[in-house]
Symmetry: C2
Amino acid sequence: MTNKVYFTPGPSELYPSVPEHMQAAMANKIGSISHRSQQFKDIYAHAVSGLRQLLQLPDNYEVLFLSSANEIWERAIQNTVEHESFHLVNGSFSKRFYEISSELGRKATKYEVAFGEGFNVDKIEIPASAELVALVQNETSSGACMPVADINKIRAKAGEEALIFVDVVSSMPNPALDYSKIDSAYFSVQKCFGLPAGLGVWLLNDRCIAKAEALVAKGISVGSYHSVPSLLSKAKANQTPETPNVLNIYLLSQVLDEMNKKSVDAIRQETEAKAKLIYDYIGSSENFDIAVKKPEHRSPTTIIANTKLPASEVNKRLAPFDMAVGSGYGSYKESQIRIANFPAHAVTQVQALVYKLQELIG
Amino acid sequence: MTNKVYFTPGPSELYPSVPEHMQAAMANKIGSISHRSQQFKDIYAHAVSGLRQLLQLPDNYEVLFLSSANEIWERAIQNTVEHESFHLVNGSFSKRFYEISSELGRKATKYEVAFGEGFNVDKIEIPASAELVALVQNETSSGACMPVADINKIRAKAGEEALIFVDVVSSMPNPALDYSKIDSAYFSVQKCFGLPAGLGVWLLNDRCIAKAEALVAKGISVGSYHSVPSLLSKAKANQTPETPNVLNIYLLSQVLDEMNKKSVDAIRQETEAKAKLIYDYIGSSENFDIAVKKPEHRSPTTIIANTKLPASEVNKRLAPFDMAVGSGYGSYKESQIRIANFPAHAVTQVQALVYKLQELIG
């Protein structure tokens, strides 16, 4: 039994009601039902309609369930890129998407800025030949984010046929995306949805689907059981091609009910208010400083601080008080900390973390 | 709250201790821990060593965690087949593996017998050019199984370099495989391991790994985050490339402890004894008859009966008594029933099912 509060950037603190929903799932044997049963189809439909409501998704977008954001990267390339993709890179995850395209035999090009920096969109030139343009609204490794206003400028810079993909893995539902200015967005549930890991959610519009169908018509392999046409034909019947992570789809449907009851606006306001608490503290700390220099590029959901004390020492001091923050990513493991500010983190918990860090570390 | 006992062929009845382990997982916040933490690595190592013990896996085999058996089909083709695979087909799942190879642009050939039939191995000719030979030890759709003695004859009939893959999705740990006569076996945890769906387990030997490396060396794409080299490099550090279904890996480690305590021999004996109860009843029923004609091809774990009453009517009669069997697969939906006989099903539960079917249906 632990009372630890996880401010790690995913897996992270579970949404407070998850243990209760899990107990209900066990009592109702959700883990035993067939993935072809009406009971499952109702759960699936419930999760999708909850997402549509929370994310204010237009009708020309479909919702697909995959296993992880990693998988979505792969399926995106397989299904929408014949020759070339273009990637904005400013951290480890945006770089990984770029690499995956290359590993799948495509020509991948990039526009890269230093780890922790955001982008000056006016400087970006996008090759007209890029079929997919990969943006990272929120780079989980570095805490740099891309304002929606900047995302909205990309369409005019890309080729007419280019599909614009937005990584919102660790920010959704916080950014109020303009879906008409992009073609796809994706996230995993262990970040801002406060669920156990093992489920990725892919939002994609009719243009993405048409591209996948065009590749199929050209005789190009777009994968097998998780190709877009295969996923879509099952999604229309509220199912997945394989036996999916049924429990997580159930938990998602339940947590979405609560998030929608609270409203996405209230969640966003609370997220911004908690982010201000954390950034104000880090900005005034003797030990920490804010890693992302430009205020407009600072993520409200994954907040990164440079730390004089090693990150492991910060966590060692927090441990007796049942709190944990994330260490830095990769080579920043000890020189940065990452603080997740997700909907599952209550204002009081964030306040408690800030007070404790102030007291213990200054 | 339901007391229904699921004899469906997967998802199926959960192993009796799963709700308790899930409660412990929630109390210990397993859903919040990092997939790069020592705590996770210990869970991963525990699950792998539990599998090695239960399945008596030789040292030249590796254990990899994927999302589903569907995914394993795809990764197997991507990582071990440059040109051609060969498939024994006698039902919907063996056929699906064959189709996946083709969807991934390989030449897929097959030796097919009717749905519900087993194979006469002496009649099978395997093209010398087949790089992967796909066997189905237990065809979940039709209930036909392949005796291990027959599996062991395949190596001599295949090309020297051919890799022999065995589908044990809904039978493992029941078949006592001779790992020296095959190269890979795979299953998903929602069948005989009594867990929620969302995790596939891939066992593969050094020959499979060498083949994947040879394809990489030739410049052939073997996928990205879930390529064999990528999976393997993380597996050696008790991790996965992506954030995996952490909860399920934890539950697997716990259930394996209990299965190993009981011993694989005891599980196999109990499985055979329960299968005899079910087959004896079906064989003597006025309504049912055994779908698989040859006794040596009858699966002990997924038992299929032709039914005069529609399958939905059988389940309608069972429902007030909190029992459910599986309907037939695909076009056999109403004309067959499928009864799962997994380690999670207690002898007393199987007896109760047989008595009740006898009473209600005859």
